[in-house]
């Protein structure tokens, strides 16, 4: 009798789980995007005999079923907990927690990719930047400060620097590695914090010959409830942070032109998709070509900044040193189109890329 009770309980629990979950998934609504994972979720695939016979339908269906699974975020959290707390794994899907930060493993160094990035910069210099003052700088990702002290592998940053030096002999390097530490980055995001970039701006000023705005002239503004990209992607669980932005020093007067949308805004963009990515508050997020103009600027200097997302909070801090800053993201704009959109003349030029992008240099078009 007892054995039968146990059997009934097993069947009831397992059967209930199977049928209940199926019912929830069938009857529930399918979200189009995951704010936590910052990506579009797979949709129910369009079925066709051709797709079925070619074996394309099943993988699409499997992806849809996993993406639309009831309580997906909860299950991802459970998995992360099992990985780290039960199996003692040091990372989960490549994400790890150390010193209160969440980061993502970035190793090994892909030398060929770094060389590709350098080659792209060389090509642009040769084609457009003859006779101009050109600098480059690599922004260390936060693994540089977190990984090794906590026993995690990281890319060979020394070798990365060497490759750039060897391949970019006609450009002036700017070393930012000693201008930062781990607290200069958000705990839940790969990016740096705007209010802690004073050493970076001063170093840029020293090397590029401009006078940086003293940070005590800025006013700090706080936006609470910021979850960085790693918070949801890692599923490691964390508290929200405060996203800080600075006002003053030419920032308020500066207008940002977004060439993709043919639209003018301020440098901080309330209308950006902040639910998906709070960091888009700086310059509105990813864009191929943007121009910052300070109408009150009196320096007569202009800067062309080849950049990735790290430059978004940095560029506004240069608006007393430069009247105009043109930001080009080669991940979204093919370099072959540069001549059509930019009048190259006597501007200063800075190639500013995070080591994460340099290590994946093939993305620069």
């Amino acid at each position: 009798m007892k054995r039968q009770r146990r059997a009934l309980l097993t069947i009831g629990l397992t059967g209930g789980l199977l049928l209940g979950t199926m019912a929830l998934q069938v009857l529930g609504e399918d979200p189009a995007v995951s704010l936590w994972e910052r990506r579009k979720l797979a949709r129910f695939p369009e079925a066709s005999v051709e797709k079925l016979l070619e074996g394309r339908l099943v993988p699409e269906l499997e992806a849809y079923l996993a993406d639309s699974f009831p309580f997906r975020d909860g299950f991802r959290r459970v998995k992360a907990l099992l990985e780290t707390q039960v199996f003692g794994k040091l990372d989960t899907n490549g994400y790890y927690k150390a010193d209160g930060h969440i980061s993502r493993l970035a190793y090994p160094l892909e030398e060929a990719q770094v060389a590709l990035a350098a080659k792209k910069m060389q090509e642009i210099q040769k084609r457009h930047l003859g006779g101009m003052k050109v600098h480059y700088a690599a922004i260390p990702d936060k693994n540089y400060y977190l990984a090794e002290p906590n026993g995690y592998p990281s890319m060979d940053y020394g070798r990365l620097t060497e490759i750039l030096q060897e391949d970019l002999r006609d450009m002036a390097p700017i070393d930012l590695f000693d201008c930062l530490d781990r607290e200069d980055y958000y705990k839940t995001d790969p990016h740096w914090r705007q209010e802690r970039l004073d050493r970076v701006v001063r170093r840029l000023g020293e090397e590029m010959g401009f006078v940086p705005t003293p940070f005590d002239r800025y006013e700090r503004k706080v936006r609470p409830g910021f979850y960085g990209a790693y918070a949801g992607q890692s599923a490691l669980g964390t508290k929200p942070e405060e996203l800080v932005h600075l006002m003053g020093g030419g920032i308020l007067e500066t207008k940002a032109y977004h060439a993709d949308k043919d639209e003018w805004t301020g440098v901080y963009v309330e209308s950006a998709d902040l639910a998906m990515d709070g960091y888009s508050y700086y310059l509105g997020g990813a864009a191929a070509l943007q121009v910052l103009v300070n109408p009150a600027g009196e320096t007569g200097r202009e800067l062309i900044l080849f950049r990735d997302s790290f430059a978004a909070p940095l560029a506004p801090l240069l608006m007393e040193a430069y009247d105009k800053v043109t930001l080009v993201d080669l991940r979204y704009m093919p370099s072959g189109l540069l001549g059509e959109h930019i009048d190259f003349g006597d501007q200063d030029v800075l190639f500013l890329y995070s080591t994460l992008v340099l290590n994946n240099g093939g993305v620069l078009r």
Partner: protein
Amino acid sequence: MVFSSIAFLYYFLPAALLLYWAAPRHLKNAALLVVSLFFYFYGEPVYTLLLVFSAVSDYLHSRYIERHRGRKRAGIALASSIAINLGMLGVFKYGGFGLALPVGISFFTFQTMSYTIDVHRGEVKAEKGIVPLAAYVAMFPQLVAGPIVRYKSIAEQLRNRRHGVEGIAAGMGRFVVGLGKKVLLANRFAEFCGAYRAADSPSVLYHWAYAVAFSLQLYFDFSGYSDMAIGLGRIFGFAFPENFNYPYISRSVTEFWRRWHMTLGSWFRDYVYIPLGGNRGGKPRWIRNILAVWLLTGLWHGAAWNFVLWGLYFGVLLVFEKSVGLGWLGRLPLAFRHGYVLLAVLLGFVAFNGEGMQGMVEDLGGLFGGNGLPFFSAEAAYQLRSHSVLFLAGAIGATPLPKRMYLQATGKGTGKRMAAFLEPLAMAALFLAATAYLVDGSFNPFLYFRF
């Protein structure tokens, strides 16, 4: 369709069970056949026709053999049946025509060959109904990766089987344990092996860790699949044969192969080794028979030289053990015997998983510092630290210790009473844990699908 997928667990399985249990008794085989064909069609839409052809072909052949038993015609029909099955294997697996390998073809052709051979031998009567035979051939629980179930072992169950509550619950429990082995252990060892393959700084230590990880991955992947198959079989009222019996605790390679992929081993014993003469007819013939069986076992896994060498490697070890080694081995300390088996098996599996001959040589060479590899690398140390609990769990889980401890703890008294409700809860928790990995994970087909 993969057992360890959302589509199978949360859609196919509940729907298949509802259809099967709703079917009246005389239509249960038909219901099983329908869901099995859908199961195969989902992953192999085109080759489902091949499966149907195989079932129909063996049904007709077996009926013919039965009708003409004892006559020459029966022998010709048997030869024809075997030629068709081997022909399918030959074309799709060894033909090199650029055709995709139909999932599970090595399993279902071996099953159907055993059926017609047994009918010819008079060990079992030919199935009169096409539906029960097709249900046997296409039965989804063991269709694509075994165990290799012989018709004669489930012929009675095809006609008349019981579906008791306790059997269903036991089947569910076995299935969930297998799911846990696959998702929580095998897939995670696979991640380690993937990291090894992509390693930036290989080392001797990393090669050995990979050898252990792959051996455990293969065990938990395949035995996990077998557990799921046996569990599903039980839910549908069938008793499938066991396929694994803690092979890594073996004290000789001979014993290892009595505990690993047992249904394939016994298939080759009954349908190749013994018909060739077994150990009768003198030593040279006996050695020839063993080597022939192991050459075929290697080839069964695929048309690649490393599989052939892998098979012959074990053939040679078995000849050595049976001729001189077993007595000698038996006198050695137990630890040495276990060490010898583990080393032999590890080397064998590294060869087995090599990417072609060159890859095999590189993988084996790496174990001994080939190409000037350093002993240690920081990357290997990180991966080993990160997976240390997994390796420990895998090593313990590959022995009978956990089962023994569980049975001891729940055999009587309070433990027994608590197990009555804790066991179903633990099963549900394990099921949810596996689901969490599947929801967040990528597609991980079973290793033995490729054979």
